[in-house]
């Protein structure tokens, strides 16, 4: 799954700010850390501010700080501000009678979308920050058992 640029920038910013809610960061500080466009990030932060997830701090040393509840806000809550996940858009397109191949493909793709939505809804910002702290990508993941050949299964 690939997120749109604005969505990814929003997740970077919200998680960066939620990691330390007392701290305020400028657009440039966040943009420099992630190597992204400050101009684009500024627009994303304004959208996040309108949604109440961050608040602008004015004056010298101003910037943004986290304004949400990290234990309640999920990755899906942030993503939905910027894009729709597949199932939401596909369901709005009616199928024409006789399009069995299209219906079958939609059925299979809906499996993936349902898994994606369930995963994004289940991970709060707080859980995501804990996961980042554990760095599970640095550990060898659990592997599925080696497949047996048809001869071995017999």
């Amino acid at each position: 799954m690939r997120l749109q640029k604005a969505t990814a920038f929003a997740l970077y910013a919200v998680l960066e700010l939620a990691a330390n809610p007392a701290r305020q960061l400028t657009v440039v500080e966040i943009a420099d850390k992630y190597g992204i466009s400050a101009h684009h990030l500024a627009k994303v932060l304004r959208d996040l501010g309108r949604a109440g997830l961050v608040e602008a701090v004015r004056g010298v040393g101003g910037g943004y700080r986290f304004a949400g509840n990290a234990k309640r806000l999920t990755l899906m809550d942030v993503i939905r501000l910027f894009e729709e996940i597949g199932a939401e858009t596909d369901a709005a397109t009616p199928l024409v009678a006789g399009q069995d191949i299209a219906a079958g493909l939609r059925f299979v793709l809906a499996e993936l979308d349902a898994q994606t939505v369930a995963t994004l809804r289940s991970i709060s910002l707080s859980t995501m920050l804990k996961l980042i702290g554990r760095r599970p990508w640095a550990v060898t993941p659990s592997q599925p058992p080696a497949r047996q050949s048809a001869r071995q299964r017999r």
Binding site: Q115, A118, R121, S122, R134, S142, P144, P145
Partner: protein, 156 residues
């Protein structure tokens, strides 16, 4: 687990292995949470994993002032589709008034400790995809997607 209500007084809660005397409390708590009364099922689960059968699994209860406030049940499974022995959690419930107080985490830690004592180094579970609350609970404990996929079909 439904949305937490936090009005309950906080008597100390102890976690221990379930006994036969706990089953009415377990059955009542499960019924309160799921809306389904399943006494035969819970007595069968206790028969398999209760205090006298600890080598097969762990049936743990959280109890305060003589009342069952939560429970968790798990077992060590081995070689299902080639999976080396691992811990499996297949039931967890916490009374609504006791949620968001760390009791579910204590139950989770306790059952994981029993799995470690049994010599396994991994824990798995399976849950309803639309049960966001329990999904979020397991994620908050550090669980992530594993290498297996759950499939099903209708038997017409």
């Amino acid at each position: 687990m439904a949305k937490a209500q936090r009005s309950e007084p906080a008597e100390p809660v102890g976690i221990r292995r379930a006994t036969a005397a706990d089953m009415p409390g377990v059955i009542a708590l499960d019924e309160a949470v799921t809306g389904l009364r399943k006494p035969e099922y819970w007595r069968e689960v206790f028969g398999r994993y209760g205090a006298a059968r600890r080598e097969l699994g762990s049936f743990l209860v959280a109890e305060a002032a003589g009342r069952i406030e939560g429970f968790i049940v798990g077992e060590v499974r081995a070689w299902e589709f080639g999976s080396p022995p691992c811990g499996w959690i297949f039931a967890v419930q916490v009374r609504a008034a006791r949620r968001v107080q760390g009791l579910g985490s204590r139950l989770f830690d306790a059952v994981c400790e029993s799995f470690r004592a049994a010599g396994v180094d991994r824990v798995r579970t399976m849950l309803a995809r639309d049960d966001t609350v329990i999904h979020a609970f397991f994620r908050s404990q550090g669980m992530t997607a594993g290498p297996f996929i759950q499939l099903e079909m209708r038997l017409d």
